[in-house]
């Protein structure tokens, strides 16, 4: 549906990729680790290798979580835009199919947050 309005009603989106100075927005979450209250947002270069995103962005963001000591994200179960996918760690974000405002989720069976697998809280 369109907006009912008193005149022409069309606008440029405020968050177009061009506004991010060569970066694109990527959202990430280590699932079940809800002591980090929400997925995280980062502006990243599209040619960044996926491995760098994991080692240089995702892992440091969650570093203070107690599960971080034991995690091997390479063995994680990944989703891209809510669909299961297998990332190639040596290829770029773009080559892995990420685009502006993509969502990356990783689940690590066995590491399910502070309360363990039963309630998987935190």
């Amino acid at each position: 549906m369109s907006v009912k309005s008193i005149g022409d009603y069309s606008f440029t989106p405020k968050d177009k990729v061009e506004n991010f100075h060569g970066n694109m927005l990527v959202y990430m979450q280590w699932e079940k680790h809800l002591s980090f209250c929400a997925p995280l947002a980062f502006p990243l270069p599209p040619d960044m290798p996926f491995g760098d995103l994991v080692a240089g962005v995702l892992a440091p963001a969650y570093a203070v979580h107690p599960d971080s000591e034991n995690v091997d994200f390479e063995k994680g179960e990944w989703q891209l835009n809510n669909v299961p996918f297998t990332p190639d760690f040596s290829k770029s974000l773009q080559e892995n199919g990420l685009s502006h405002k993509s969502v990356i989720r990783v689940r690590t069976p066995g590491l399910e947050g502070l309360a363990g697998a039963d309630s998987a809280a935190g």
Binding site: V3, S5, Y27, Q29, K32, C37, A38, P39, H100, K101
Partner: protein
């Protein structure tokens, strides 16, 4: 005592008719459609504006009389509060953090409402609706002024209260209430009244004002209690405007029903999401609690809302869409929101803390199905880290919902361990949402929400003072290391502890 007959010139009904309805006229120099150009484009069909009912039948003379009486009472209390060092009478300085949220999040909305009702009142051709809106516009201005005035006393002593207006416009979590009202004010006059008068004032406002003001009373905050109830005494009149606008639209034309239903669905959800802030105030920020968010939801939505929507059923109106999601969330909402502000205490203009043992038993008692299982482990971890001198702060910016602008902190209905993600594509761009309710709102009017000023995205675009967190917080006009951070590391805490110790010594 016998009831004597009154020998008044006019009764309430007559007085109302002559002093309200008789003030309007059919224009002749210009067509009515040109004088009132905005009350038809939304598609609402009105055949007879005279059918508008104002049950309170308040006329302008009576309005001034009672409002001035309210003001006299209020200012007497404010003076006495300030002269008697009322700030010392609160239960605990933690409490004031709720007042800081109120000042930066709610009072600016009162001012926005003043503007919204002035505009809306101008644009209805029906005189009954026009006068009700104009009175409300004056009320809302009064609320903004008296709130700022009352709370200004705390600003002399406590942090985070020095720049409410700029903060409302800029700070990330305040974009939630700000965008809510901007959304309503940029709609047409009928949608505005459905949004604010009905969905907010009638259906949801009790959840904001009643428990919160009662909480203020319980925690010795004379200033907030007094302005709160002074404002609330206008609220009953606002609520009747809300119910009247809905019934009026529904009775005027059957074609209005689906439009009204969609607005109710939208504004119920938007209002409910905004009240997430209130849930955490009730369950975590009041040192002496009044009732839990869950209890308030049951009393004011499940019970009172059910009666209301059963009554509206005869017009073909059903309960707002996703009300069952909101009811499911009552066990989780306040814990998820408090955890969020604990995560981001470094970037907020108020302080957070972890509940003590007494407070934890209260939470377990009020939330037997959720607190211990899902939230206590998280909070115990936070407490342990704090005691070890490693207070947890989330150093990364969160992903936001494109409609309500709250981070994606809510979990899938029925599964409190999995974050709820919803997504839409519009003109080759992705948009993300925290819930089906927020996704539906976007999908119906995407052009409106692609303009959303999303704080996290604005920071990354370089529009908020700089690239470092410190630059952004300065741009927010926050006093770093004073306004933000953990309560127990704050100047508020230090000062309060000194005051309390002096008081003990004096005794």
């Amino acid at each position: 005592m016998t009831v004597h007959k009154r020998t008044k010139k006019m009764g309430i009904k007559e007085r109302y008719a002559s002093m309200t309805r008789d003030l309007g006229w059919e224009t002749s120099y210009q067509p009515m459609d040109k004088v009132f150009p905005y009350d038809t484009y939304e598609g609402i069909k009105i055949h007879d504006w005279d059918a508008w009912v104002d049950p309170f039948r308040l006329t302008m003379d009576a309005y001034w009389k009672y409002q001035s009486e309210k003001e006299r009472k209020l200012y007497a209390v404010i003076d006495s509060f300030a002269q008697n060092n009322g700030q010392l009478g609160i239960t605990d300085a933690r409490y004031l953090n709720a007042v800081k949220i109120f000042l930066t999040g709610v009072s600016p909305l009162e001012y926005a409402a003043h503007r919204g009702y002035a505009f809306t009142g101008r644009h209805f051709r029906g005189v009954g609706a026009r006068i009700a809106c104009q009175m409300q516009s004056v009320d809302e201005l009064r609320h903004a002024q008296t709130q700022l005035h009352s709370m200004s006393h705390y600003n002399k002593f406590f942090s985070g209260m020095h720049s409410h207006k700029m903060m409302h416009d800029r700070v990330w979590y305040l974009s939630v209430p700000k965008s809510f009202f901007d959304d309503a004010m940029t709609a047409g006059p009928f949608e505005f009244l459905t949004a604010i008068s009905f969905s907010f004032e009638y259906v949801l406002t009790n959840l904001l004002f009643v428990p919160f003001m009662s909480g203020a009373a319980h925690n010795g905050d004379m200033a907030t209690v007094t302005f709160g109830f002074s404002a609330q005494s206008d609220e009953a009149r606002h609520m009747t405007l809300g119910i009247e606008i809905i019934k009026f639209m529904l009775e005027q034309d059957e074609a209005n029903v689906p439009i009204v239903q969609r607005w109710i669905d939208k504004w119920f959800w938007r209002g409910y999401r905004m009240l997430a802030l209130v849930s955490m105030m009730m369950d975590y920020m009041l040192p002496k609690r009044v009732m839990s968010w869950k209890e308030a939801w049951e009393m004011y939505f499940e019970e009172a809302g059910a009666a209301l929507f059963e009554d509206l059923g005869r017009y073909g109106i059903r309960m707002p869409k996703y009300h069952e999601v909101a009811t499911w969330e009552k066990d989780h909402l306040s814990h998820q929101v408090w955890s969020t502000f604990y995560n981001y205490a470094g970037a907020a203009a108020f302080h957070t803390w972890m509940p003590n043992d007494n407070e934890k038993s209260w939470l377990k008692d009020k939330y037997p199905d959720s607190f211990e299982k899902h939230y206590e482990p998280r909070f115990d971890h936070f407490t342990a880290k704090k005691e070890a001198g490693e207070r947890f702060f989330n150093g990364s910016l969160p992903m936001l919902c494109n409609t309500c602008q709250i981070p994606l902190i809510f979990t899938e209905p029925g599964d409190p361990t999995t974050t709820c993600y919803r997504e839409s594509e519009y003109k080759d761009d992705k948009y993300h949402f925290c819930s089906d309710g927020c996704k539906d709102i976007f999908d119906y009017e995407p052009e409106k929400y692609i303009q959303s000023w999303m704080p996290v995205h604005q920071i990354y675009q370089g529009n908020c003072g700089g690239a470092e967190l410190e630059d952004v917080l300065k741009w927010y006009q926050m006093d770093l290391g004073v306004d933000n951070g953990d309560y127990h590391d704050s100047e508020d805490f230090k000062m309060w502890t000194e005051w309390s110790e002096n008081q003990k010594k004096a005794v």
